[in-house]
């Protein structure tokens, strides 16, 4: 190899290296960018067809950019995100549970996109509670992705068999459940209301319905309120329902509840709208159950009303360290825009990020969307994620359900811990 050839080779290698590292600026000159956009989405959030659609549209505009969509699991995502953000190359775009955003925004991990807000489709009609979860100190750190709320999924055939109707109050829920237990309870695996012990987001509506809360804020100080008289009333209600109607694992979590429901020994279960799809999945569930499924909002203790539910959901954030800000914003804009949000509703059965699209839901998903009308949110503090990770409320429920601790004692311990963590 002569020296000229060598020089040429080295130069080419450097050029390739620079391209591979995404050294080419990615602003404005549409279509010429190269590089890789890494996206983390959560397990079960967008159907594969929607992800493929977004990538196809994106690829049409930026043929030389590779998009890597990696699916993460909820159970260990905070640990993975912490590690990723601590490193120098976190993913460019990530789906964040709405209760987690404050932590990452406060730590400076997410890009402030306030100035770009108007460039996102429907940004004027985004769901208020998701927009709030994206907002930290008046700045916007993410784009609302979708919302979800819980209602009770039930088996219409079992209800008919026991001669009961959809309950209209909490007392009624108990009566209906007792009748179901009387009719089917000889099956030792039957639960009228399947309720695993760590399922905090299913217990929260009962606390809120009696006027209780997780924590209250005065000034900059938080105070755990899960031990207030009203909260304890709600917890008592849950405890009574669970001990009379549930044979689920009192120390277990809700991760396997759809598979359990699909096996046919459960009449009612508190679940997200998209879980209908998991229950009737041909591989992991039982498709023949679909015509036998119904849903109704968790009833309030005031007859005829419904209990407030936790409005869960996800947002799409862009990491502050991303080298591809413009590309990342464009990808997020596609998934958060009209076309794919509509698909998220019709295929995925979730509540879309904009009020202009909610009317697209029909069937069971519409019931879940309606249940979200009276919704509540967790304390919006950067430290809330730690309350979740420390399993404070889950541990409290487990000790209440297993009888290891009384409601006043367990809730006071939890309230102290919440106060301590939130004031961090």
């Amino acid at each position: 190899m002569n020296s000229r050839k060598l020089l040429f080779t080295v130069a080419t290698a450097f050029a390739l290296l620079a391209a591979a590292c995404g050294g080419t600026p990615s602003t404005n000159n549409t279509g010429n960018e190269t590089g890789t956009l890494t996206v983390w989405l959560m397990n079960g959030s967008a159907p594969q067809s929607v992800i493929d659609g977004v990538n196809a549209d994106f690829k049409a505009k930026h043929p030389n950019v590779t998009v890597n969509v990696e699916i993460q699991q909820w159970s260990d995502v905070t640990t993975k995100l912490d590690t990723a953000f601590a490193g120098s190359t976190p993913p460019d775009v990530m789906e964040l549970g709405n209760t987690l955003v404050a932590k990452y925004a406060a730590a400076g991990a997410l890009q402030d996109i306030s100035s770009k807000k108007s460039s996102f489709q429907n940004s004027g009609t985004w769901l208020q509670s998701l927009t709030d979860s994206c907002t930290y100190q008046q700045k916007l750190y993410c784009v609302p992705y979708y919302a979800g709320s819980r209602a009770i999924i039930y088996r219409t055939d079992l209800f008919a068999g026991a001669g009961v109707q959809v309950p209209t109050s909490m007392d009624d829920l108990m009566t209906v459940g007792q009748k179901l237990m009387a009719k089917y309870g000889s099956d030792s695996r039957f639960s009228a209301l399947y309720f695993p012990g760590k399922y905090w987001y299913a217990a929260a509506p009962f606390v809120w319905d009696f006027g209780g809360d997780i924590a209250t804020q005065s000034g900059s100080k938080w105070q755990g309120a899960i031990n207030s008289a009203q909260s304890q009333q709600g917890l008592t209600e849950v405890k009574n329902l669970v001990s009379a109607l549930s044979r689920a694992d009192k120390t277990g979590d809700e991760a396997k509840q759809d598979q359990t429901f699909a096996q046919g020994h459960v009449a009612m279960m508190i679940a997200n709208g998209w879980e209908v799809g998991v229950i009737t999945d041909p591989k992991s569930g039982d498709p023949s159950l679909l015509p036998k499924l119904g849903a109704f909002p968790i009833p309030s203790h005031n007859p005829g009303q419904t209990a407030p539910v936790f409005l869960g959901g996800s947002d799409l954030g862009i990491s502050a360290k991303s080298q591809h800000q413009a590309l990342a914003q464009e990808w997020v804009g596609l998934l958060g825009g009209d076309k794919f949000q509509t698909q998220m509703v019709t295929v995925g059965g979730v509540i879309p990020n904009s009020t202009t699209l909610t009317s697209k839901s029909s069937g069971l998903p519409a019931i879940f969307a309606a249940a979200a009308k009276t919704s509540r949110f967790t304390p919006n503090s950067p430290n809330w994620a730690s309350v979740e990770s420390a399993n404070v409320l889950q541990d409290m429920l487990v000790s209440i359900f297993t009888g290891k601790s009384t409601i006043p004692a367990a809730s006071s311990t939890a309230a102290d811990k919440i106060t301590q963590i939130l004031n961090g």
Partner: protein, 322 residues
């Protein structure tokens, strides 16, 4: 002095035929250090650096914000003050100590029995038994714990089914993890199960070193089997026992995988052993300073145990050289 000394003498005289006496002396002193330097550098890099860093982080306020900025705030011993006055941490320490004592005791006891058994059974049975032990030893921890988890499952577990089937009572929907004593019993079974192969095979290897004629002499003098074991076998394998005992203590005090996987990565606080506590504080609650402080406490406790191990190793090495 044995072989090592001769080799050293030869090496230094060969290397410096024409050097002056002081240079010779220097080289003789430097050579051993030069020889262990590569190993030392590796040890410092993979053990020393993380350890120093751990101690350093334990003296800082180091949360998620600090993690992203790679910059903590020095607060002296405040993290230690916080955990050492936290009733939960004291509970964790107590649980870990009891857990370690029970697990080390059980694994050592059962491993000794199996080692003695291996010595007495016929060759084919011994091969079969050793193969079984090696298979257990070769099973990766995570899949193994998952299998145990299935067996003890609340809804579908074979253990509940078997117990009910064979008339031990109604174990349908029996929750093994509702009562921490039962839960720890299950964890103990898994830990001991995983620890026995190494301990039993090592002890068996040790037992084969006990001279046959000593045992026979004792038996002729009328010693009973227990007396033979206590007065002949045990003194000979005692150093090995101490080493295995120290290693077991170190492993069982640091148990993490079994608890973490068995309880679906969300163990409730009854099940916090010290390693679980440290992980939870660091990687779940993002209080890396507190997590590091509890890890330092753990290292300190283990250092005490290690002293026995190191002392015994040094004693053994000296005996061999003598």
């Amino acid at each position: 002095m044995g072989v090592a000394g001769d080799a050293r003498g030869r090496a230094s005289s060969g290397l410096h035929l024409e050097a002056g006496p002081w240079r010779q002396a220097l080289a003789r002193r430097a050579l051993p250090y030069a020889l262990i330097a590569p190993a030392l550098i590796v040890i410092v890099a993979v053990l020393g650096y993380p350890l120093v860093n751990l101690v350093w982080i334990s003296t800082q306020k180091y949360g998620f914000r600090e993690l992203i900025q790679h910059q903590g705030v020095f607060i002296g011993l405040q993290n230690f003050a916080t955990i050492l006055t936290d009733p939960q941490f004291l509970y964790v320490i107590r649980t870990s100590l009891i857990f370690t004592a029970v697990n080390v005791g059980l694994s050592m006891f059962l491993a000794t029995l199996i080692a003695l058994l291996l010595e007495r059974v016929s060759r084919p049975v011994r091969i079969l038994l050793s193969a079984g032990l090696v298979f257990v030893w070769a099973t990766p921890v995570i899949p193994a714990v998952n299998l145990w988890q299935w067996m003890f499952d609340y809804e579908f577990g074979v253990v509940n089914w078997l117990l009910t089937r064979f008339g031990a009572g109604d174990y349908i929907h029996h929750n093994w993890f509702e009562n921490p004593v039962q839960g720890f019993a299950v964890i103990t079974i898994i830990v001991v199960w995983g620890a026995i192969p190494f301990l039993a095979l090592t002890l068996y290897a040790g037992l084969t070193q006990v001279p046959r004629e000593l045992v026979e002499a004792a038996e002729i003098d009328g010693a009973r089997p227990w007396q033979v074991f206590r007065n002949v076998t045990l003194p000979i394998v005692r150093p090995l026992f101490i080493i295995l005992f120290s290693l077991s203590t170190i492993w069982d005090f640091g148990v993490f995988n079994q608890v973490w996987v068995l309880l679906n990565q969300r163990p409730n606080k009854d099940y916090f052993l010290i390693a679980v506590y440290s992980f939870q504080e660091s990687f779940r609650v993002s209080k890396y300073g507190l997590g590091a402080a509890s890890a330092v406490v753990m290292v300190a406790i283990l250092a005490v145990v290690s002293i026995f191990y190191i002392r015994e190793t040094i004693r053994l090495t000296n005996e061999e050289l003598r």
